[in-house]
Amino acid sequence: MENAKLRFKIFLTTGLLLLLPMFSFADVGQRRDEIKKQLDATIAISDELIDKMRDLVQRISLNRDTGDEAKLMLAKAVRALEDANERTNTKLPRLAKLVLFSARPIQTVKDFRKEVDEIKAEIIFAHKLVVETINLIKTRKEVVDDVD
């Protein structure tokens, strides 16, 4: 009788001990999902920013007051945005996968951040060019209006 009780306790304890790692796995899964959400959102925001900048460049180039000098500046902005787009759609997703599946995410997340910083620099450069182009067009327009 005592022997049976002891055996039952041993089985019960073994079963419960086997359940413990399940909770740990569940935590890891949840954290991975959360990290994936942040990575996806960063890529989506970068994509949106590039689209918005491209839209601005397009509208400026269609403006009737845009001269040759302004168009050259816009061409530089387009090249910077193309580079940012290439990085956003090829390099960032690859680095994001490394962050998710790496045994050392601290290192891989640094690489991801570095790439985002590069993209940010490209967008800032393009934005600066767009603002300069707008100012150039406005100045030209004012001069023409004064002459008229």
Binding site: A4, L12, L39, T42, I45, L49, N63, L100, V109
Partner: protein, 102 residues
Amino acid sequence: MSTNGEMNQGSGPLVGSIIVVLVLLLGGYYSVRVVENLNPLATDLNLPVEESTSSQSAQIANIATTTRDKSMDIEDIEKDAMEIDVNVLDSNLENLDLLIDQ
């Protein structure tokens, strides 16, 4: 003819076995779920904007197109250019750092 003692002796291993089988079933279900998530081919990292959290959607909404967007007027283009905030890219990275540090 079996005694009460023999009956009790038989129930212990049976209950234990049931627990082990249940654990294995749960483990199997969970690993299938995790493997699906881990499979790079099944993982689309360029999720649509709708799947972002509400704060992320709000950030994207800030840079979303407005009615002014289609205007070719240089003043309107300038206003739209001034509204672009590149720093929104950093907000998710800060959350990411917090999650990785955990």
